[in-house]
Structure formats: structure tokens, C-alpha cells
Symmetry: C2
Subunit: 386 residues, 2 copies
């Protein structure tokens, strides 16, 4: 089972770029990790749902799904003659379920899900076009407790599969826009200013922002470990709604650290990229040793419910796997041809994996070794093969 | 969570025909059943694999995949500009993995898998266009032991999820073709004869088949419970390769009944429809009370390996669910706002599901009931809500 498709171009060419076969022991390991992460969420009352792989394009791209529009595989439905899409993200699907099928369920609604998502394009950072998304959504509670619960359940799910040394990066994607709105800049300098902020180019911000420079540079320079960042932010002269957003951030940090006092938390108050559809606290989760984020989430407005509010997280299974040791190949017991069936059945009941010999073998031990087994069932006893 | 999408046309219209949201508690139940069926197979040494949802069309439709050609959703790959397809069946994918990526692995190779398959069209018998396929393939062993193992693992997998009163229907799809080949009939009467056999129209078979009538009618009339069927078959004057196929059938019945003496087994020796790509013993599995088959399988020639032989089974999760009672909604414990976090964590470690109150409630019990909880955590104790 050691054939490595990555190393064999002839085999890789069997599949389109970005698609792959997951072999043993990885496929079973992935299933086990998904199950453990889902169990964490269901333990907190999140109801597991399973939306379809295909929906009408219009539905798939609503609300939080809009961000995926450029990456969705489109298909014509031969039945309805309408355009359908293969999901590139499940957040919008869960939000749709909450706001339509479960519109009469008591609020907040807690949902969780795991499944494949697909993308038309691949890039160096994300070479896969089929990945597993694991997520949870808490719909209908505007509270800081809800923000904190989603972050804490995501961290607990990562811990449940063995991810260690997790760090949390907190963002407030609405902060910069609400400061910018107060400046009343014309479109062109406003756009230049936005870009300067995204580049974290302090000099350019000071040059363009005029009266807003002190606050904007303050937001940029506050980025860092939570204690220092919170102090720096408290000194800024912010407009009312930005101040409220920061108060919420403070509250969420307090709720999270009450449960996770040793968690490494950094704040990135001016960060906005990739969180454009978020309407409140957003976050990324990292693990020491893995450069890309394990997962992300935050507060958003669910589709089909313009008055509503939700928060949720997405964990990327492929990234989680990078933070974990490779799974071990399970040990197997060879059961020679002609062994009474109940002996092998008893071993399986004890959690052993048996591999039946389908033909008589002169040398059963040699046959067991050929089949890659590490044990053999002999005279009703399991014996190790040396 | 009682919103029933089937009963609400406005909600059903949200999704294309044949696609649906699986809600709680069904989604978690499905995941549990898949896990149990996969555990049965992995316990017998089947290595779990996970092929991608999308492949090149040419690859997807090879070998046992050819039967799905009419039902495959096609997509243009923007990267390679080649046609891709969404898998409608995973058997060919597993066979491809065995004969390419695992071509150097010791034979026989045992693989198992579970995943979604998609179809362009729906019909009354199969209204779903996205279903879960659970399967296992035993590749590279031509033995009757392999035929029997696949049947027995499929039955054990069904039992593992609670399916009772399973019955097995055995077929030899090569039998009729090998009798027909001996008759030397011209194309037109041969085609008419094939149709008469498929219709089980004894009179028409007698009229068309000439010298072959006795054997063909004998095969048709032998269909039924295994003991009588085997006796009837033993009296037929069959050509050599048909006799060999029947000897194999006898052997497989003996191997299966040695392990499953009480299993209801019927033989349908002239049946061929839907098993056109099979090259040996084939079978269907039924459960009392469910009209459609739970699963099917049999011997075939794997793609990428014209000299090879394999046998395997497919179980249809949607059908398996029809044979089982509806899952119960799990009971949940409401944890009022302000309860120390470690109390709820201790409950979850004991396997309880907790639902946190996110805001202070004047009447915690009323809030617990509103949220659909059946228990409440009060003064560190779990109390039932009446």
C-alpha cells in the first residue's frame, strides 16, 4: 500500500489536476477525524445536517455563498433546464437550512456538517479541487457568548483529533470600513487608502487618510498579542460603531480566555481580506508548524434572512491533517484457509483485523507475510510473525 | 426539527428534483451506519479508500463503469480542457485503484469505500439523484471462497447496522449466454429468444429455442428456493462452461450456508438484466419488508486489467435505511447561562449532549423547554424536565 501517487506521474495523470485517490490508511483516518470533530459539535447540541452536493446556482451563491461564485462548477439540470452548481462551500447551505427548513425551530439554531466541497480552479496554495469541509453554525444569537461558543467549539474539535499548540487570530472586519465611512473621502483616494491598509503600508495611510490617519495607523500598529493589542486599541479615538465593535472584541476575548487561559491569541483589528461577508468578530485558527490556517469563521448575515445574524466556523480537513502525525498502518492477522470461521470472528469481535487465506497454502506463514500481515492465527492462537 | 421538506412544496422547490437536505437526527444516523458498515469490511482486512467525486470521463466509464454512461453528469475541466464526469458508481473507481495505484500490492487486494454518487436522471423507482454507495471489492482471486467472502461480508455489514431477515438471491449471468452460444441461431431469432428469456416467457422460449428449449426452460423453471433449485439444475443437460458455472454456484452456496445455515437463499439462474458486466456469480440482497434490493454484487473484470478478475458488493444506504426504524432524536441537557463551564464539560465527557443558554433567562426551565431540551443542569445536577 506504499504506492505513492504523487511520485508516479503516469498514475497522477489518471486523474484531473487537484483530484486524488486517498488510500489506506489515510481514508479511514480521515473518516475517524471527521467523526471526532462532528462528535465535538454534536456534544454541544449542534444538529448534524447533510445538504446535497448539487444545488441550483442561484441558491448556492446567496449570502455567504457569494464569495465562491468564481470557483463553482456549473452543470445544466436536464430535468429543470436550470443551472446548478457543485458546492464550493457548505456555510451557505447550512444557513439556508436554518432559515428555510428550520425557520420554525427555536433560536438559536445550532447546525454542524462535514462533506466534500469542489472548486473549478486550483492554485499553489490550494492545489486541491476537492477538499473536506467540517463546520458548525450558530444561527440567531447576536451575543458575544455565541461568538465565543463557536470559537471554543472549533478549538475543542481540533483538540479532539489531536491538534496541539493552537493559536487564535481575531479580526473585526467591520472596523476599518466604519472608520473609513466617517472620513468622507472621494472614491479614488478611498480605494487607494483601502489598498494601503490591506498592504499594511503605514506611510501611505498617513499620506492619504488625513484626519483618519491616527486611528487607522493605530489599528494597523495594534496588531499583535492580545494584551498589548487590547491596550493599544483602548487608547484610540474611535467612532461609536467602531468602539462598539471593539467592546465586543474585548468581551469575546474575555469569554474565550476564561475557558482557554493559555491559548495564544493575537488580534489583527485592521484585517479584512477574505472576510468581506462578515458582519462582526471573525477569526482564524492556526497550529504551530502549519503555515496555513486550520480553519476560520465569524459572524455573518445568513441567506434567506436579511434581518438575521449567525456565526460559524469552517475547519479544513487537509490542513488539520498537516498538523497531525501520519496514521499508522493497522496490524492484521492472517487466517489460513480452512481455519474454523468462528475463530476469526472472535478475533474481529476483539477489534482485530483478519485477512482470510482464500486458497490452501503449503507455507501459511510465508503466505501471511506475502499478504503483509504481522500476525497469524495458528491452532486457535494469534502468533506474531517475526 | 420536525419540518418535513417532503410535505412542503415551497421548500422542496429550493433544491433540484432528486436532491435533498438530510436533517437531524438522520444525518448523524447515516454517518453512524456508514461507519458501522465500513468497520465490518475493514475488520475483514478491506482497506478503506476514497476516490474523488470527479474523474476524467474516459476513466470513469471504463470496465464496470460503462453501465453508468447514460447517467453521468459531465463537466468541462477548465484546466485540462478535457471532459470530466461526476461519479455515478464507485465500483470502477475502486477497481481502477487496485489495478493502477496498487498494481504492485499482493493479490488478492481487498478495498472498501463509502461515498456519494450522482446521476443525471431520476425515476419513480429511484427518485434520488444523490445517494450514498457503500461497497467492497476483492480483486485478484478467482476462487469460490472469494465469491462467498464478498457475500458474507455484505450480509455481516447489513447485520451490523441492524438489518434483519436478510435474503440472498444468487444469479449466474453467464449461464444463458453460454447456452445461447451453443445454439448457433441467427441474430434475429437470437434477439427474440433473449427477450423471451428476460420476460420469463416459457412458451416463446419453447417456440424459438429449438434444441436448446429444454435447457433454457429448465433454467427458467429452476428459479426458486436453493434446495429445489439446485436439484432442478442438476438434472439439466448443460454445455461444459455452463456446467462449470453451475458447479461454482453449488460451491458458493455451500460456503455461504456453512456460515449462514439459516439464510434464505433463492437461485435465479436465467436472470441477466442489470448484471451485463458480470462474468461469474452475481447476487442481490433483500430484507423482509423492503421491496427493492438492499444491495448487489458479483464477479466482474476490473478496468485497466483485462486478464484480471474481481468480485465485490454495493450496498445502497437509502434502501438500508428503509429496513431500519427511524432514528430517535437524542436527549439534550440545557445548561443555563452562567453555569460553570466545567460542569457542562463533565456531562459531555459522560456522553451527554449539552445546549448552552447564551443569555440569562428569568425562567431557565421554560427556556430549556423552548430549546427542546429534556433535561436541565441545576446546581450541578441533571434534572429531568416533566
Amino acid at each position: 500500500m506504499t504506492d505513492d501517487p504523487v511520485l508516479d506521474p503516469a498514475l497522477t495523470a489518471l486523474l484531473p489536476a487537484g483530484f486524488r485517490d486517498i488510500l489506506a490508511p489515510n481514508a479511514a483516518n480521515e473518516a475517524r477525524l471527521i467523526d471526532a470533530m462532528m462528535s465535538t459539535a454534536t456534544g454541544h447540541g449542534y444538529l448534524r445536517v447533510k445538504p446535497p452536493l448539487i444545488e441550483f446556482e442561484t441558491s448556492l451563491l446567496q449570502g455567504p455563498g457569494a464569495a465562491t461564485a468564481e470557483r463553482v462548477f456549473r452543470l445544466m439540470d436536464p430535468i429543470s433546464q436550470r443551472m446548478m452548481g457543485l458546492r464550493a462551500d457548505m456555510t451557505a447551505q447550512a444557513a439556508r437550512i436554518a432559515t428555510t427548513r428550520l425557520k420554525n425551530a427555536p433560536r438559536p439554531v445550532r447546525l454542524c456538517y462535514a462533506g466534500e466541497v469542489l472548486r473549478t480552479t486550483a492554485n499553489q496554495l490550494n492545489p486541491e479541487r476537492e477538499v473536506v469541509q467540517v463546520g458548525a453554525e450558530l444561527i440567531g444569537s447576536p451575543t458575544a457568548e455565541a461568538d465565543a461558543e463557536i470559537i471554543l467549539v472549533a478549538i475543542e474539535a481540533l483538540r479532539a483529533v489531536g491538534v496541539e499548540r493552537i493559536s487564535l487570530d481575531l479580526m473585526v472586519p467591520t472596523l476599518v470600513p466604519s472608520v473609513l465611512a466617517k472620513l468622507g473621502l472621494p472614491a479614488k483616494p478611498l480605494s487607494a487608502l483601502r489598498q494601503a491598509i490591506d498592504r499594511k503600508d503605514v506611510a501611505a495611510v498617513e499620506e492619504i487618510a488625513g484626519d483618519g490617519a491616527a486611528v487607522l495607523v493605530g489599528l494597523l500598529e495594534a496588531a499583535g498579542p492580545r494584551t498589548e493589542a487590547m491596550q493599544a486599541l483602548s487608547r484610540l479615538d474611535l467612532p461609536g460603531d467602531a468602539r462598539e465593535a471593539l467592546d465586543r472584541l474585548t468581551e469575546v476575548v474575555e469569554l474565550v480566555t476564561a475557558v482557554e487561559p493559555d491559548l495564544s491569541i493575537t488580534l489583527d483589528p485592521a484585517e479584512n481580506r477574505g472576510f468581506e461577508y462578515h458582519t462582526g468578530i471573525a477569526f482564524s485558527l492556526f497550529a504551530r508548524g502549519v503555515r496555513a490556517e486550520m480553519g476560520r469563521g465569524g459572524r455573518y448575515r445568513p441567506n434567506h434572512d436579511p434581518e438575521g445574524t449567525a456565526t460559524g466556523f469552517t475547519l479544513y480537513l487537509e490542513r488539520v491533517l498537516q498538523a497531525l502525525p501520519d496514521p499508522k498502518k493497522p496490524q492484521t492477522v492472517f487466517v489460513p484457509h480452512g481455519t474454523p470461521r468462528d475463530q476469526a470472528a472472535a478475533l474481529r469481535r476483539d477489534g482485530r483485523i483478519t485477512v482470510a487465506g482464500l486458497t490452501p497454502a503449503d507455507d501459511a506463514e510465508a503466505e501471511a507475510r506475502r499478504m503483509g500481515c504481522t500476525f497469524i492465527l495458528r491452532d486457535g492462537q494469534v502468533a506474531a510473525l517475526n
